[in-house]
Amino acid sequence: MKQVITGICLAASMAMVTAAQADITIGVNVSSTGPAASLGMAEKNAISLGPTVIAGQKVKYVIYDDATDTTNAVQNVKRLISEAKVDVIVGPTTSPTSKAVTDTVAESKTPMIQLSPGITASSDDPKRRWIFNAPPADAVYADALIKHMVKKGIKTVSVIAVDDAYGENCTVAYRKLADQKGIKTLTVEKYKRADTSATAQVLKAMQGNPDAVYIASSGTPGALPHVALIERGYKGKIYQSGGSANAEFLRVGGKALEGSFMLGSPLLAAEQFPDKYPAKKESLEFVKLYEARFGARNFFASLSWNALKIVEAAVPKALKVAKPGTEQFRAALRDAIEGTKGLKGAGTVFTMTKSDHTGINQLGMCVLKIENGKWKLEDHAEF
């Protein structure tokens, strides 16, 4: 019995020793399967375009999939922290998974750039101190949406939201602003990603003839109610939330999408932006890289790409303080990320502050119109 115990202790100490190397390790946890797979897959693709060397240090990526499951997400993040000893985490994809790992990340004092909007983090909250967001906050979306609606003279809106965290968050952010601006919400209808029909929801939404219908969904599921609206002869305006901004959506939705509006990253119509748009060069660069490898450009891919950009910019500052793989390095990296200023990414410009860990303003947002199966720039913020 004694020998066994000694053996186990030995093995344990061996396991402890192996993890010490000086490379920068970036842990990635995305939902490349499960309900959020279409988002996670693109995010994972973009990671493979990330830098292999930052400031002379080799970069090692450790990538896990959480299958859009919170239990898995926590497990993966713990694994990244304690086994891979990562310096920074990119991910998770969805807001429930992000929420689930919040405690773990805070306790381990590891900076994390999450790819879901959900939680807006700041240094004031000890738990969310270590968390940064790569996508614009829901409020930024809602702001652009409402502005455009006001411009078009829309007074009444029905919302059709997919029944998941994304749909929920979009709806909440939208309603907050809409109430302020005097836009009346007639009804909020929900449907499931795998539903075979959204006719009933559409009929309900069309009651009272709203000026516009706002569809809040991510990925291809947004097409189902959209098509049903057209089939039922809805003549008003249709807005799609930013989550549907990918080529697959255009393919699945087909003709029905013509003339509808969509919130999205400037990335999607980067070529159409005037040259004075600050992040135009960076956006086009990413589009070129990504489209060469993976086909059509993707907003979600740009999130993880931007997250890596933020890390790339922050690492040199942190290296001055400590060596990668140490707690000091992680703390320094966190501070450096918080100090990000005017960093140009794909389709946005980041300026973080202590109270704002998102760092994206209206520069990272535009309204697009779908014409001939393509995105046409409809409206953008002043710059």
Binding site: A15, S32, A37, I63, T68, P96, A100, E168
Partner: protein
């Protein structure tokens, strides 16, 4: 010794695991949680032959109950545990009450539906946090100290897990537990000893739901965050895979399964993306294939491979000191059973037509007739397994025509079966102990906490006494399946005797027995009569009955053909015609 050593080694490993990285603690905690759920599922699936895909949903009920009550109302987590358990019991009881009377596949189908609707409900109701979930669930407190350290939580989970293992083991080895294990011999067998099959099934289902509830409650306080995704149907299915792969017939199989699936999942998530260029939760393909393969080739799961190599568990000693209370046998010649104009119709077909006969205390009566004459139907009418169409049956002075078999059993009627119904995997002694179901009162709580040892000893002693009475003292600790048919029939008689009956009903006890075995059986029955027992035997072997019984009732075409002393019956021309036939 090996068993004990293995267990100690297991405990040591558990205790030392937190020395490794925090990741191993998480894995260990998950394995512990899943083991708790799987333990319940083993009882449900492996022992009671029912199953549920809704265990994850029961976890969800508890997790959400505690999350809401602690976050929104500031309740103590210990109070919420009680509330969650009450809620779980209510839901499980309802589901069980609705489905358990029907075929075995209705419960799992209902749990699929309920698992899905609950999952969607969690995701939809705004008060439950919607799909985003509820964060900042309060930590558990022990004597005013918050349990936030994951190492401590890991130990807590495993203490709970080992405790449930202990309780489950105790339960299986108790009065109710034996009856539950006996369910696989058919509900009618268990009911003939006064247990209600429906109630037993419901108990197992509720118990397994409660274990899931406990795990869910722990989960919520460990993660301190709940959202619908871990409580979906696929998690419920994964639990089932755990026990199928781990081994559904052993409690340790649950822990083995939980460990194997959890570890394998992690391993596969590392390996599969390298093999398949795409990412995806492709481990489900592997789990599915593994499950089908285990079902096809290794019914006992992984644990059966281990169990195979272990020495058998030592038998508990029989200490024959105290005894169970016994009924007073009625005086001889007193009327014990009176069948009065009983008819049983199946649709238009009359299986039994206006049968009437009587049996007095201390008598052996034979009910004979050619095959298909309606003897077995008559028998099942008396024992209450079939309802009568018309007529009356009196047991003693009481009319039992409308009672069901457990109620009739309670009044002192014990039976054997035409096709022997012993549980092959239980020892002869344990099989006989099932017979005493109605003679003790031990509840589930006492059984689970091992407070039932005094009565258990009594029951064991009583079963041993009955086995000695029928001359099977040497075979007590053998598995019942290893006995010859003749001995199995005698074990059935011992089991019936263990219920301390006033009347013993034997259904074709001599069928398939060798000549010598028949003689031994006849001797045994004569002896029992000497001891004051009354017996009704359904048989078609006249030779066997001739020198044994006091009176014979002959049936043909569902009707009484003749009744009288054996010697008269033998020369009755109508009986001869019925048996020999002619063209």
């Amino acid at each position: 010794m090996i068993r004990r050593g293995g267990f100690m080694l297991f405990l040591t490993l558990l205790a030392l695991l937190p020395l490794f990285s925090s990741y191993y603690i998480t894995m260990g905690s998950y394995i512990g949680l899943y083991s708790i759920v799987s333990l319940g599922l083993v009882l449900l699936t492996g022992v009671a032959r029912l199953t549920s895909f809704g265990q994850a949903a029961f976890m969800g009920v508890a997790a959400y109950t505690t999350a809401i009550l602690t976050v929104k109302f500031g309740c103590s987590p210990w109070l919420t545990l009680l509330i969650a358990m009450a809620l779980t019991t209510a839901i499980a009881f309802l589901l069980g009450a609705i489905t358990l009377r029907m075929g075995g596949h209705y419960l799992p189908l209902a749990t699929i539906a309920w698992g899905i609707s609950l999952y969607f409900l969690f995701g939809t109701v705004p008060a439950l946090g919607g799909s985003t979930g509820i964060s900042d669930v309060s930590a558990l407190t022990f004597f005013g100290r918050e349990l936030r350290d994951e190492k401590l939580f890991y130990y807590l989970i495993w203490i709970v897990c080992l405790a449930t293992l202990w309780v489950s083991t105790n339960l299986l080895d108790s009065r109710e537990g034996r009856a539950i294990r006996a369910l696989r011999g058919g509900v009618s067998m268990v009911e003939s000893f006064g247990a209600s099959g429906h109630r037993l099934k419901n108990i197992v289902f509720i118990y397994s739901a409660l274990l899931a509830c406990l795990a869910g409650w722990l989960y919520a306080h460990m993660m301190r965050f709940v959202n619908p995704s871990p409580f979906g149907l696929s998690q419920g299915i994964e639990f089932l895979f755990m026990i199928v792969i781990g081994g559904p017939f052993s409690l340790w199989g649950a822990i083995a399964g939980a460990a194997v699936i959890t570890l394998l999942k992690t391993l596969l998530q590392g390996i599969l993306p390298k093999l398949i260029s795409q990412t995806g939760n492709f481990e489900i393909i592997v789990f599915g294939i593994m499950t089908v393969m285990v079902l096809q080739w290794l019914k006992g799961g992984i644990w059966s491979l281990v169990e195979h190599r272990l020495p058998p568990k030592p038998a508990k000693p029989v200490n024959d000191t105290s005894s169970l209370a016994q009924r007073v046998q009625p005086a001889r010649r007193e009327s014990l059973l009176k069948v009065d104009g009983v008819t049983k119709a199946y649709g238009g077909l009359l299986a039994v037509k206006k049968m009437s006969f009587e049996l007095s205390a201390g008598e052996i009566v034979g009910l004979i007739g050619p095959n298909g004459a309606g003897k077995s139907t008559m028998f099942n009418l008396i024992s209450g397994e079939l309802p009568l169409t018309s007529g009356k049956i009196h047991f003693g002075t009481e009319n039992i025509s409308s009672l069901r078999s457990p109620q009739i059993a309670r009044r002192g009627l014990s039976r054997t079966f035409q096709h022997v119904r012993l549980i092959p995997g239980m020892t002869v002694l344990e099989n006989v102990m099932i017979g005493s179901y109605l003679r003790t009162r031990d509840g589930l709580l006492a059984a689970g906490l091992r407070l039932n040892q005094a009565t258990e000893n009594q029951v064991r002693a009583e079963a041993a006494r009955q086995l000695r009475r029928v001359g099977l003292a040497d075979s007590m600790l053998i598995h019942a399946g290893n006995l010859s048919l003749g001995k199995q029939r005698i074990v059935e008689i011992a089991r019936a005797l263990c219920a301390d009956p006033l009347l013993l009903l034997l259904d074709e006890p001599a069928a398939g027995l060798r000549y010598l075995e028949k003689q031994e059986l006849a001797t045994l029955l004569s002896e029992l009569r000497e001891q004051g027992l009354s017996v009704l035997i359904v048989e078609h072997d006249m030779e066997f009955l001739m020198n044994l019984v006091d009176r014979i009732v002959v049936m043909e075409f569902g009707e009484k053909l003749a009744e009288g002393l054996p010697c008269d019956i033998r020369s009755n021309p109508a009986v001869l015609e019925a048996y020999l036939g002619g063209v």
